[in-house]
């Protein structure tokens, strides 16, 4: 399958807190989003997943530095003139953030905001743009859309604001939606509505999604392919079923085992320690200090992301792979209902 989006050796650096040079929050990231798929980028805070997402549309301001390439539609977005990038932003690639309140303009009605996007990108006349805005509100499941279009962001609930953001992002039928923790701030029943909405719209519009999240439950429900990130590196990549059934990197196994859903009432297998700050990871494998499978060799040189036991679809950055049968016992999560 042809990749719609391809990140090649992407690195994002910030000035170090101590003033000594730069630290890499994301480092040597290679990632593909095949057309028509939902790809997950999973990690804990400090893993570098959000800066990776922001760098795609060049949404990071200096002093952040981005190197590598972001290939999309035959271009490297990192080198595209601002004018041309603007034609892609919102039009072909749209983005949804965790907190819609900070992304919506508080002094414009939500209808005006969606209509403005439509007018900018599709050069439609005012009236047609407004009609399209109302239509989008309906598409994202907002009742009485003509009425709600005249509401200001603060007059809407968090769930409705996130629907508005999604409506705005999808108004121009983008090829790719980048969703950064789109449901993290929402209650679980509202999260379910939004995830269903994204699923339905993806199917109807044939778009691809890059989903950034820390929530493995959300990943399991929505993604086709999963990339696990740790301390700036992608440490494992596989189709979603394999990530959950046979995680090969000890960090991925640790994440799965530390979920109470998986453990039932028995003691949780927590990963000791905490995610290192950018630039503060140990030499060699960045997970070595917290890893229960660590070998001396792990500290000598950092492993590369390679096919695990020759499986070209399942990559792991580890020289002491988790055996396939490690996640023993039935997954009890399904017993939730």
């Amino acid at each position: 399958m042809a990749a719609l989006l391809e990140l090649v050796d992407l690195a994002v650096s910030f000035p170090a807190a101590d003033g000594n040079g730069f630290v890499r929050a994301a480092d040597g990231v290679n990632l593909e989003v095949p057309a028509g798929t939902t790809v997950g980028l999973v990690g804990e805070s400090g893993s570098g997943k959000t800066v990776t997402a922001l760098s795609i549309l060049r949404l990071l301001d200096p002093p952040a530095r981005v190197t590598g390439a972001v290939r999309f539609g035959g271009n490297n977005l990192l080198e595209l003139p601002e004018r041309e990038l603007r034609a892609i932003r919102g039009n072909r690639i749209a983005m949804v953030f965790q907190d819609p309140m900070t992304s919506l303009n508080p002094v414009l009605t939500v209808g005006e905001q969606i209509a403005e996007v439509v007018r900018l990108h599709e050069k439609r006349p005012r009236r047609a743009a407004w009609a399209r805005a109302v239509e989008m509100l309906e598409t994202v499941g907002i009742s009485s859309p003509a009425e709600r279009a005249r509401a200001y962001p603060h007059e809407l609930s968090g769930g409705m604001r996130q629907r508005v953001m999604i409506g705005m992002a999808l108004a121009c039928k983008p090829d790719l939606l980048i969703a950064d923790e789109p449901t993290t701030a929402l209650d679980v029943t509202i999260q379910a509505q939004i995830l269903e909405l994204l699923r339905r719209l993806r199917a109807e519009m044939g778009m691809s999604v890059l989903l950034i999240t820390h929530d493995l439950g959300v990943v399991a429900e929505t993604c086709d392919l999963v990339n696990v990130m740790y301390a700036g590196r992608i440490v494992e990549r596989a189709p979603v079923a394999r990530i959950f059934a046979t995680p090969r990197h000890p960090y991925t196994l640790g994440l799965l085992s530390s979920m109470p859903d998986f453990a039932g009432p028995r003691r949780l297998r927590a990963i000791p320690g905490a995610v290192p700050l950018p630039g503060k990871h140990p030499p060699g494998c960045r997970f070595a200090d917290r890893c229960e499978r660590v070998l001396d060799r792990c500290r000598a040189a950092e492993p590369t992301l390679e096919p695990a036991d020759g499986d070209a679809e399942h990559l792991a950055r580890c020289i002491n792979l988790v055996p396939r049968e490690a996640l023993s016992g039935p997954v009890t999560a399904g017993a939730l209902l």
Binding site: V188, T189, Q193, L216, V218, A241, F262, G334, L336
Partner: protein
């Protein structure tokens, strides 16, 4: 173990003024927590679960109802009389950053309760703090550090050490793991489980995290718009939820197993505003099983099997009002 519950709330109502109007954040709630038990209290934002936790500790004024802790009628006591009891009931908050004074060191933060209740001074005070830090798994090297120098997990452990310093019997944990990353969340859940056993704590565990509550609680109460709609032993509740809201909540939770991918069954609409709660059962506008009676009459929590449910449709086989 005595037969009377350690903590008992009877018909508790808590009201807040908002935009010139009064809303019931907690509306006529009764519950009991037995000695040594961990009760999970789940609900979405605005359900009143945190306010109920604070009401049990008398940290918010009650508009109606009573709270009893051990042999003390808390509602009858003034702040002065409450003070010696405060030692025995403590709280751990979600946001340890906001709960910890940024200008105090870890030593003084953990020792604050010891100071207030005059439990230890000088060397004894520092020794107790070091012992507490060891118990919650914080390296004593940080004893002179300020909160911003700690990681999120360390801050939450310091918050727990601070609560434990005065040797409480009853601990309210208000979303203690919600701000933590997955790997650290598991550490804190394990820590709370261990402490509960070594210190024989009675706990109220308030959360929106169904995985965490299933892991740690022996019994679970579900709140919706200020009221408890269902309550049951944990496995009974997860195995056979009765109230349509409890069912909706469990069905909406994503399952971390891609082979069991489901259409997330979200209930329609959103919770009504507590400022203008719908008449009758507060869940009726979203309920798939609604009948006429639900629109006019508030269902009472009635015993059914091992649990209790407040529903005109699914609580019908019940007979004994609580």
């Amino acid at each position: 173990m005595s037969s009377a519950p350690m903590v008992e709330a009877s018909h508790v109502t808590v009201r807040f003024a908002l935009r010139g109007r009064s809303l019931a954040a907690v509306d006529d709630v009764s519950l009991a927590i037995d000695d040594g038990e961990t009760l999970g209290l789940v609900g979405e934002s605005g359900s009143g679960k945190s306010t109920l936790g604070r009401a049990l500790l008398r940290l918010v004024p009650l508009a109606a109802g009573r709270v009893r802790f051990e042999e003390h009628e808390l509602t009858a006591l003034d702040e002065r009389a409450l003070r010696p009891l405060r030692r025995r009931m403590q709280v751990v908050f979600q946001d340890a950053t906001a709960a910890l004074n940024p200008r105090m060191t870890v030593l003084d933060l953990v020792a604050e309760g010891l100071d207030i209740h005059e439990l230890a001074r000088g060397d004894e005070r520092a020794a107790r703090v070091r012992a507490l830090l060891a118990q919650v798994g914080v390296d004593e090297a940080v004893i002179g550090a300020h909160p911003h120098e700690l990681s999120g997990g360390q801050r939450q452990r310091v918050g727990i050490a601070r609560a434990l310093a005065v040797e409480p019997r009853f601990l309210v944990c208000d979303e203690p793991t919600s701000a933590l990353d997955a790997s650290v969340r598991a550490q804190v859940l394990n820590l709370l489980t261990d402490l509960r056993e070594t210190r024989q704590l009675t706990m109220l565990f308030i959360t929106h995290d169904l995985g965490a509550v299933r892991h740690i609680a022996s019994r679970v109460a579900v709140m919706y718009l200020g009221r408890i709609v269902e309550e049951a032993p944990t496995e009974v509740l997860f195995g056979g939820p009765r109230h349509p809201y409890t069912r909706a909540l469990l069905a909406a939770a994503p399952v971390p197993d891609p082979t069991k991918r489901k259409l997330l069954a979200a209930p329609k609409g959103e919770p009504a505003s507590a400022l203008a709660p719908p008449g009758g059962c507060a869940f009726h506008p979203r309920c798939p099983d609604v009948v006429e009676r639900c629109r006019s009459e508030v269902p009472q929590l009635v015993r059914i099997g091992a649990g209790a449910v407040a529903c005109h449709v699914h609580g019908r086989r019940a007979s004994t009002p609580l």
